[in-house]
Symmetry: C2
Subunit: 412 residues, 2 copies
């Protein structure tokens, strides 16, 4: 029986040949995400991996359905596995924001699902760190989010030589679009064309912009010659005050593909341009209102960072931690007559919060010792009689005799 194409098994280290995804690496990634989020005083939340289909079609329209894992459930509801977290958190905020002091700072690490045509490296699920701030529309919110994004990447030992956060503004683009006489009904199509401009052949882009009443030249001109808006300048100054100026730059190439963004937007890229965006986000002041059926106006901004591009980048830079098995102590059973008292010792050690392993069934002592080394044990311990134990430090190879019931304390 096979796993579904585009889905991942996460195996424990050391990884079997042919498997790319390590459960230990995933723990490492999640840990860094969480740690930085807590440094920034964000609180954790989660929502269901399955939602009503209309939560996703309400804003993006029906065309998104082609990319969804959607189906009709046994209660005849149109449902979908979540392709992104923002609609869910907007729904939760719309329902319960009155209860929380503003600004609300929340993070989550959902698994997300998209039915995409299989391509190399394109998966149908990924994990994504999501962080959002609700209830405040000051540019300091965008700066706080971009600072956290930057500090998360720094926590993986990535430097300003490795990545840059390119910051832009939907407001600036909207103004340009209107000032050039763009038709409001075409705005989203125009933004999408800008979003794809760096990945699209020049003639195709030119044709696209022509069809919307623009010229590629004018669009490029706007990208190349524009100065930061007042809002973007505030974001920049804020980040510079934190000492993070080297990690960011204004770049109007960025506009973000999703329909719901309304203000400052940004994407983090590797400096060598080898990978897709590492993270992206922006302001979306109208989504909560939309999801609540117009009942709840709520400024909102957030970003997301997926695990797949991040792991690829860290791997390429040699920044993934090496696998180091670790165990506090391997408890040997050299004499099966002492197994019962050994079990008592194992229990004592684990009760102290220590990581302990022992041979479940009778095993030759040399095999036990080998197992202790494989598991990265700091110590072995073995009973010599009911009351005495020999504790061996596997680094120094020093051996100490002590009372069995003092072993656990000694190991802390």
């Amino acid at each position: 029986m096979e796993r579904l194409p585009g889905f991942r098994d996460f195996f424990p280290e050391p990884l079997p040949k042919g498997e790319m995804w390590s459960a230990d690496v995933r723990e490492y990634i999640f840990d860094r995400w969480q740690t930085t989020a807590r440094n920034y005083a964000f609180q954790v939340y989660d929502g269901p991996p399955l939602e009503l289909l209309e939560l996703y079609t309400a804003k993006s329209g029906e065309e998104i359905v082609g990319q969804l894992y959607n189906f009709t459930d046994k209660g005849d509801r149109g449902v979908s596995m979540r392709p992104e977290m923002t609609p869910t958190v907007a729904r939760m905020i719309a329902a319960r924001e009155r209860h929380y002091k503003k600004p609300i700072k929340w993070y989550s690490i959902p698994q997300l699902f998209r039915y995409e045509r299989q391509q190399k490296g394109r998966l149908r699920e990924h994990f994504q760190f999501n962080a959002d701030i609700f209830g405040e529309n000051h540019p300091a919110v965008d700066a706080e989010l971009i600072a956290m994004l930057t500090d998360i990447l720094r926590s993986f030992e990535l430097s300003a030589d490795d990545f840059v956060v390119r910051i832009s503004s939907r407001n600036a683009w909207q103004e340009f679009f209107r000032s050039q006489g763009g038709d409001e009904a075409d705005a989203y199509e125009f933004y999408q064309a800008v979003d794809k401009i760096e990945r699209t052949a020049t003639e195709d882009s030119a044709k696209k912009f022509d069809s919307l009443g623009f010229t590629l030249e004018k669009v490029r001109n706007f990208i190349d010659s524009s100065e930061p808006t007042e809002e973007l300048q505030e974001v920049l100054d804020n980040l510079k005050a934190r000492g993070l100026g080297d990690f960011v730059k204004i770049d109007y190439n960025v506009i973000r593909g999703l329909a719901y963004y309304t203000g400052v937007v940004y994407e983090a890229f590797d400096r060598h341009g080898k990978f897709r965006a590492i993270a992206g986000g922006g302001r979306y002041d109208q989504l909560v209102n939309l999801v609540s059926g117009g009942k709840n106006d709520m400024p909102a901004a957030g970003f997301a960072m997926g695990d797949v591009v991040l792991v690829e980048l860290l791997k390429e830079r040699g920044l993934l931690p090496e696998y180091n098995p670790s165990l506090d102590v391997y408890v040997m059973v050299e004499d099966e007559a002492l197994r019962e008292s050994t079990l008592e010792l194992v229990q004592q050690i684990r009760d102290f919060g220590l990581h302990a392993e022992y041979p479940l069934a009778a095993t030759k002592p040399d095999k036990q010792f080998k197992r202790a080394l494989e598991l990265g044990a700091r110590f072995t311990v073995r009973l010599t009689d009911e009351g005495t134990a020999l504790l061996k430090n596997l680094e120094s190879r020093e051996e100490t005799a002590l009372e069995a019931n003092t072993v656990a304390e000694r190991l802390i």
Copy 2:
């Protein structure tokens, strides 16, 4: 827009009225599960939340489909959201076990999905701690798993007065079934009837057993008068040697509903009998072979513990941790002219791994101080000029003047 019935949002503390599921409580539960699993030297793994439908129908037959979130994906595959983790881990082990030293000890915390008719307290998803040991069929494996199950519940401050693990044996039941001339084709139906015996009216049980060629009396007799098998005695002795004897008892009422169990089985119950089973597991020596199409014989045993009954039980016993907001420091901005240097200070503090918050936009000092208290800050700090800071301990209310760039170090 509403969430789907039977699905949960996990909100941050303090919980809004009308919401029952705390993201912080969930973190607490997950943390205890992980901590104990690591003490027992288990390694983490994960698999996809979506699998081929046949992974679930292969063993349980088509009747299980009524309870699944199954559908046909856009590639025309029959797929299902996972209703349990065991088939997934059996698939992973079947594919890659050769790579790993035995015994293999793995754990995971998947979210699982079942389409059940809505009843009070019956959800359509839950999180479930899963732990399994592969490659060893000694009763010490069952004991190791039951010991971990017990230690997990103890880690939530539950005592032998709160719960008991009732241990039984499919082997013993199988022998009884055969010795009474039971028809092998009816075995699973018979086990299911035994599994439900405590929840079924006497006359209905009697009728059921009659139809299978048994009498309820004989079944009850077997339950009441049976002595532990040799294997069960070994499990018991092992647990007693660990000092866990008070937490377990032999009880042939337990048989487990799932088809794939083959040996020792067990379920943990609250002593007052108010809740459904807290956890359950057993040996399933044929499942890996089945999932691998007969290519991989592999002894296996494991158990699972869901989050829903556990949280209900801990809540009833008053054992859920109280919500204690905690923040290392709230950095105040009393003078907006000092905002830029304050941002530098915030960044320094967070770079030291400390949890810090500050007012994103201009806020009155008394409101800032109130916010610091709400967030459970240990300290406030505010700059008095570019180089000097006042650090206030919110417990003792003592205030200290110090150089701004020594604040972070001072707080560690």
